[in-house]
Point group: D2
Chain length 356, copies 4
């Protein structure tokens, strides 16, 4: 199921084309709307003031409520653009943003308004596509759920690797919260931290942890192009602001000894399991039947309203930039469902490949 995301923040529409959708899936539009709502801005003072209905229109591939197997194109019209916010500073490289690199790659022809094709808004069609992948996975007993593992420098949620058992319900509970955490008590502290950053004209990042539950052993492969870790990472790094991806205990594994890092195998009612899950359910690029657990590091939103040193990349002059416009002081809560979407699309593809 190949997905192509298209659109620009201030263009007529954004959307996705999905190829290879299995025919016959009755798409649960409410579930898709729920996920789009989790990503949508404007719900709280924590997020950008831009309001978008994010109404999905299906141009193709859906007939009488079911997928047909033909390419499915879903579009979301853009409605609440304030393009004039961007015209004055269009040639100034916002630090941490893709203005300059986009300028070079597009030979100066890119749509600069609102970040153009680089905008986080492009994650909306990804979430729509991910909702379809989740529904396909659900038919095979596989679920995907994520939460905020840590926010900023010191706020931490429960680590899925520390739980004796991880269930889809547990992760669904997190999804229902305005700040998607496992430990509900952490919500207010995280919300406060985000608002504090905004007040200080600054922003914060965090780490999202995601689990794929119900995935059978044997999915993926060791090689480039089929590796479960590599393919997940490839999809995750295409999500704006992701700067690190790690599996299981991730970078902490590099500090462990083999005797700590190795997950001893055991039997659980006829099924091979591991007693710990430091390897995140993956050995040699292949799922081992345990929850597939990974983390994605989300950098702090680069749009901050402090003055910042930068350059005008057309004139080559150094200057100072103070970013106007509507921006999130922290996109981590909204990115949780985006991480799920990228993971669900990847897992579906590898799971299908594994059946061959």
């Amino acid at each position: 199921m190949r997905y192509t995301i298209f659109g620009e923040s201030h263009g007529p529409a954004i959307g996705v084309v999905l190829q290879g959708v299995p025919p016959g899936l009755t798409v649960d539009l409410e579930a898709m709307a729920f996920d789009l709502g989790r990503r949508a801005p404007g719900k709280s003072p924590m997020a950008t003031a831009r309001k978008e209905a994010d109404q999905v229109e299906f141009l193709s591939g859906l007939f009488q409520g079911k997928t047909t197997g033909a390419p499915l194109c879903a579009v979301i019209r853009n409605t609440d653009q304030h393009s004039s916010d961007y015209a004055a500073t269009r040639d100034l490289a916002r630090p941490g943003h893709a203005d300059y690199t986009g300028f070079v790659a597009s030979r100066g022809c890119g749509d600069y308004r609102g970040g153009g094709h680089f905008s986080g808004r492009l994650t909306a069609p990804l979430v729509a596509a991910g909702a379809i992948a989740k529904q396909l996975l659900a038919q095979k007993g596989v679920s995907v759920g994520a939460h905020i593992l840590s926010l900023g420098a010191d706020l931490e949620d429960t680590d899925l690797l520390d739980l004796p058992d991880v269930t889809p319900e547990l992760l669904h509970q997190a999804a229902l919260r305005s700040v998607p955490v496992l430990n509900e008590a952490m919500g207010p502290a995280m919300e406060a931290a985000i608002l504090a950053a905004r007040q200080e004209c600054d922003s914060i990042g965090g780490v999202i942890q995601c689990a794929v539950l119900g995935l059978p052993a044997g999915v993926g492969g060791p090689d480039f192009g089929e590796n479960l870790e590599g393919e997940l990472a490839r999809a995750l790094f295409a999500v704006p602001a992701v700067k690190g991806v790690a599996f299981g205990a991730g970078f902490a594994l590099a500090q462990m000894r083999g005797s700590q890092a190795n997950d001893p195998f055991c039997m659980d009612g006829g099924t091979v399991c591991t007693r710990t899950n430091h390897n995140g359910g993956i050995n040699g690029g292949i799922s081992n039947g345990m929850p597939v657990v990974f983390t994605a590091a989300i950098k702090p939103t680069p749009s901050i309203s402090q003055p910042q040193a930068t350059v005008n990349f057309r004139t080559g002059e150094e200057t100072t930039l103070t970013i106007k416009g509507r921006h999130d002081p922290c996109i981590v809560p909204r990115a949780v469902v985006v991480v799920e979407a990228a993971a669900a699309l990847t897992i579906w593809n590898l799971l299908e490949g594994a059946h061959q």
Copy 2:
């Protein structure tokens, strides 16, 4: 330049097929041998006792010393196999290894000897292919070099992000050392830590940091399939034992504020630069002209000679396994050049794409 690695640890040969090699490259076989030597085992008490000459035979694609543009197949014969080391325990899942997942994925038909196709030995042809990519990159002024950023729990080398300037020479100096570090003084401590782990029948991991120097701005793209971070990660996770990949300050970015994480732009003699490089030379999936810097977390070698709890995956019995055979207590020093190879192949492909 698509690469396909083939072979098994105890089969007749391992190798690589490279498609899309530009014609006319005079392959520097000495440079290739130098890189293969950096990966080779047996140089010191730090590594496995298996000795392999790693002599590369070119079956195709090379004529009169130059690449022809036709598919290039390079093979390395296996010579020093001790297959009997593995027969007795073939159905016992070594914790942290791919025995069980490989068994499931191959429906019990995999070559189990010495890890088969999952063996770290398969990185030798990857290094050979990477050597060709490096030589192609050198013609465009691009170099790739890596070093051990940290080993085990507390040994740290100089962070490339902390250096005012990173040069190819600096990284080449590291490559010449038996323990490839920037700060030569760290070598003996790291070597001692590896030997200590072996004596304790244990193993250690580490973090490798890699820099791509001379890469122009504009390489890559924001989308899935062209994203510089995503494509690098995809290649790196296909390297055995890599469990995390991060760019620039990586997971530490998630703890920073935007005002810290953003890299202010400045001009340097007519070129747009950044004053810091927390984003690792990449904005929006596209190179910005600064060094592309990333880290890869290498887990401790799963093969340790302590008794470990496990299962027989054919019979479903729980049992205890004590691994025999020849294994590295730490593969981090040998993995440095492998990380370079995976990066060089990826960068070459994206660089060529950028020229279109």
Copy 3:
């Protein structure tokens, strides 16, 4: 430049997503409209009575008249659907059509109205994409033009292989005619043959010949995935009704002797040429600098208004079907520009690859 065509004949819209469009192309919308007009129905009694404005809306990838390099999505709304024409016979397999195969492949969930995703209407976005490819090719001095080589059993146009010189102007003249032929005198006869077939409740097919002019030597390769003949054929067979593709003298080559079929090489002002072009400008899957010439066999339109024996594929009953609705007695004249589009997209991709 990867293209994905989406949509159904009676859905909300049809369209195309183009990835890898070079930035900075000022899209000539008039040229695109000209090509869409050549494909459009309703111009004459020769074609279906369905009228569509085929107005292209760009949802993304175009900014201030220029391509941005981001994915370009172009859609055409469907407006003149008569879906009720199809409901009564939805489970009857029209002979020569994809109703039955589409039913099986979509597990009964396809959009059957007007042929759904199988409709020839889907060639409109292909023509739009092809127009962009043609404009890119024009910047490199390459042009693509086609004509009707033969219609029905005995009407023949001039063979490009018989001409001492083929020019873009010659092919452009054909494009301006209501029946696109080189020999203008053949137009009325062909038009008469089409109308005669309609009157007899029947249909006719034909052979389209296409030339790619200005293509330098060295484009393509011998291998699967890069072969100029193979890649062109792959694109052409995705055009509905194409049942054969051949290069140069094509199937007639199989009847020649080597001494006839071989094209002797000669020099023309410093350039290597061939005296004849039986091989259609391609040797070993690579262009040789002569015009690339190929033919595509177009079968007669399967929708004819005679009673035909068929089955109801849901009930398994044999029955007789008389097709209603609006259909072309011959789609060859409209398919000429579609063949050009498929060729232009392919040639652009291989030409870019050849520059690497």
Copy 4:
């Protein structure tokens, strides 16, 4: 199952890497040898005098006689090279050959000896790979068989489309003949025509017809990249000397009326069938359950021993070339199994895709 063919006619070896081979197939090496024997030269005065044992060595992917699922590399060493035959004329473009185009594409660095990577000898590993695909297909009840439909200007075998029933046995009988025809009586006439061409220092071509039997309805799709006709053609045009590919009645369809060309549907014991098979078992790019039948036009061998006008592409001088060396006056008989191999690999991939 992706295949990559590598090697040069006079290099150390030729071979193939197969990725995505399902694990657990016990490879029938005798069946593979049988197919390689059908392609091998030297059996009769009809073919080149070059003798090669074509002994396949498996470097990887096969363990204890079974495929492992890891990449399978099979190589065939070159042994009977007469490289000196080529040195004198290395810069003279043999008409109809890829010497000149290969020179341009390789920037003068190609291996020119014996045609290098363009040599028909490269079809040997394709046949080996095809043998594996055939064995996989056999497990699903699908078989692939081809024969010579016509040779030269006037020798014709029975057309599969004219037979009331086509069986695997019928095609196997053809495979056992020195000239693979259905109508055994045609064998001697064809052999005589080949020998006559040789005596006249000339060569002849022909048309190969191939059938895929037992393929269920629903395999393939209408779109670029999944289309059964497009994917088969893509593979077939990568076979040297193929200049045309057509399905069912092929180019003759273009001369039919719709009432003739359409295949009426009927029921046969609960299965949907067609009464005729002018469309070659494919509607809309998808199999319809009837035999998939196609033809490939093979041009006459370009290597003929008559003097031919040509150029020296290094010096730009016009000259005359008389080709020495060992060449087939007709490669059609040997190409029959190559066509089968290319088809089998393609069908397997689409069949697997159809199961998703």
